[in-house]
């Protein structure tokens, strides 16, 4: 784990904005590449970094590691229309420095015996799963990614994914792939999977936990990456504590990856 001033290699908008009447609107999604050999060397899929988004903010912002390439890491992030940190980060220019520390957290774990992996991404949830998919392909696994979004324009572009990943999409409005939620694709794919890895919004996890039979998840090892408000990212502030079947856990240190069944969903805030 290191704290470094990482040089910005590139910043690129990947997806357009999205107005959401009932929820927080998104200004768009960006990909930032940062040069940080010390962090890139150590990072495992599912881990995250803390980014200091300018001197004005009190807290750093957590982002999953999206990709590792050579000495660099990439972050894929949704910018909230009114988000102070994410709007700061998207305006960074090539050559500028961004202070980050990491890698943090436990990361996903692929069982040595697993051959078929099912990755389930709800929207920006693709962020940690791309890194996982890449790593799994390198281990000789076959990888299927179920990718869901509100509408076609919000789907993470296929050209940015490793070509060996099998991609299946769903959109809420039916403009691409199957019409509906990404979880509705699961019954067709979960049975063949040795392990399932999911990242998405809280309601997606609640669905998965509540409909295990319908989604063919009974007896299946399912790992999810949990989002919680964070202070320190290092396990010192107890800001991110959640109740699990194995007692209190700190999402930043004991997570962010947990078994779906370990989390006591009814104990968590709604959104």
């Amino acid at each position: 784990m290191k704290q470094v001033a990482a040089e910005v290699i590139s910043v690129e908008q990947i997806l357009p904005g999205l107005k959401r009447p009932a929820a927080r609107s998104i200004a768009g999604s960006w990909l930032i590449r940062l040069s940080c050999p010390e962090i890139a060397r150590e990072a495992r899929p599912g881990q995250f970094v803390m980014v200091r988004c300018g001197g004005e903010l009190t807290l750093p912002r957590p982002f999953s590691i999206h990709q590792i390439s050579g000495d660099g890491i990439a972050l894929f992030f949704a910018v909230w229309e009114d988000g102070r940190g994410t709007n700061w980060l998207r305006q960074k220019k090539t050559g500028e420095a961004v202070e980050i520390f990491g890698p943090l957290g436990n990361g996903f774990s692929i069982q040595p015996s697993s051959k078929n992996l099912l990755l389930v991404a709800g929207g920006t949830g693709v962020a940690p799963l791309r890194f996982l998919g890449q790593e799994a392909l390198g281990k000789g696994c076959s990888v299927t990614l179920l990718l869901g979004a509100a509408t076609a324009a919000q789907l993470y572009p296929e050209r940015l994914l490793p070509s060996l990943i099998k991609l299946v999409t769903a959109t809420v409005d039916g403009t691409a792939g199957r019409k509906g939620m990404v979880t509705e694709l699961m019954p067709d794919f979960a049975a063949q999977a040795d392990q399932v890895f999911a990242c998405g919004p809280m309601p997606m996890y609640r669905d998965m936990a509540a409909q295990k039979r319908k989604l063919r998840l009974i007896g299946k090892p399912v790992q999810i990456s949990l989002e919680m408000r964070m202070g320190c990212g290092l396990g010192v502030c107890y800001g991110c504590t959640v109740k699990t079947r194995n007692g209190l856990k700190q999402v930043c240190k004991d997570g962010p990856v947990f078994e779906l069944d370990d989390i006591l969903w009814e104990e968590l805030p709604k959104s």
């Binding site: 704290q3 009190t58 919680m228 408000r229 202070g231 320190c232 396990g235 107890y238 209190l248 805030p269």
Partner: protein, 307 residues
């Protein structure tokens, strides 16, 4: 250049720090968490997470809300409890050069006394910091630290139960901070630290509900620095024990302000979240200032703004 400070001049053997920069309770864990990121042995002292007799689960989520230049928290003193601290943490500290001070908290005067008793004589512990911002269950939930009499009772009970130097940490959520400071100094505090967090809240206008699971919480960070500074100034003018300044310190400049207001040492809290190296940056900032101003001993500027 002499940066060392004595925080417990009335105590034997005292509490001498190599420099005036400490970490604030609850923002630096048990010190071990930061040892990968920088040389924590360079700090003046480390104050660990608030510790209670039994482990505590803390408050419901959400526990953190960022506000303008500040942070609201309602952690609710989640901690591992004094026994786990003695078994797992103190032995590690025993091998450190930097002194570690254990922050203690309770709901009854007897809790504090027992904590002090259990921690007395343990290797790796150089002092106690008594958090009197906790609700006093016996007195209907008002904080011990809001009035002089209960604050003094806690202090005297801790003093009687330990041979360690004790720092009493004051809450700003009182109109009587100078009286509370005088009372705890009289009751045996070797030093006084201030301030703890300022009571506050935030509301989500979309859901029309408080943002914190506990509804209200404590405000920290740069937003509270001017409040803390004024209180340090007032308290340092009134008491004859060393004062430790805390509240919104992020840089050497901030720390120097507190020292000039009368603080013999400072604690860095919330700043460590944004920048884990913050305590070290603060120390280096102080050193730079002293070099530039040709100050040979930190004592030369302690209380400079009061003269």
């Amino acid at each position: 250049m002499n940066l060392s400070v004595e925080l417990a001049p009335k105590h034997k053997p005292g509490l001498r720090l190599a420099n005036p920069v400490m970490t604030a309770a609850g923002t630096f864990g048990y010190g071990t968490e930061y040892s990968h990121l920088f040389d924590i042995q360079r700090l003046g002292a480390i104050v660990c997470k608030g510790t209670t007799l039994e482990p505590r689960e803390g408050n419901p989520q959400p526990r953190l809300v960022e506000t303008a230049s500040g942070l609201l928290n309602s952690i609710g003193l989640q901690n591992i409890g004094v026994r786990a601290l003695l078994e797992e943490k103190a032995p590690v500290w025993a091998g450190w050069r930097v002194p570690v001070i254990v922050n203690i908290a309770g709901e009854k005067v007897e809790d504090y006394a027992q904590l002090a008793h259990e921690l007395d004589g343990a290797a790796g512990i150089s002092g106690l910091e008594v958090n009197i911002s906790c609700p006093n269950v016996k007195a209907g939930g008002a904080e011990f630290g809001t009035s002089p009499e209960p604050a003094a009772r806690v202090t005297a009970a801790v003093k009687a139960a330990t041979s360690l130097p004790i720092i009493v940490k004051l809450t700003p959520n009182t109109g009587e901070i100078v009286k509370v400071a005088l009372a705890v100094a009289q009751a045996g505090a070797d030093a006084i630290a201030l301030i703890n967090t300022v009571r506050g809240m935030a509301i989500d206008i979309a859901t029309r509900r408080p943002l914190l699971g506990n509804k209200t919480g404590g405000l920290s960070g740069p937003a509270i620095k001017p409040i803390a500074l004024a209180m340090v100034y007032e308290v340092a003018s009134a008491v004859d024990v060393p004062v430790i300044g805390c509240g919104g310190i992020t840089s050497g400049r901030d720390a120097i302000e507190f020292i000039m207001a009368g603080a013999s040492a400072v604690q860095v809290g919330t700043a460590s979240f944004q920048n884990p190296r913050a305590p070290l940056d603060v120390l280096e900032g102080i050193e730079e200032f002293m070099k530039k101003e040709e100050i040979k001993d930190i004592a030369e500027i302690i209380g400079a703004a009061r003269r």
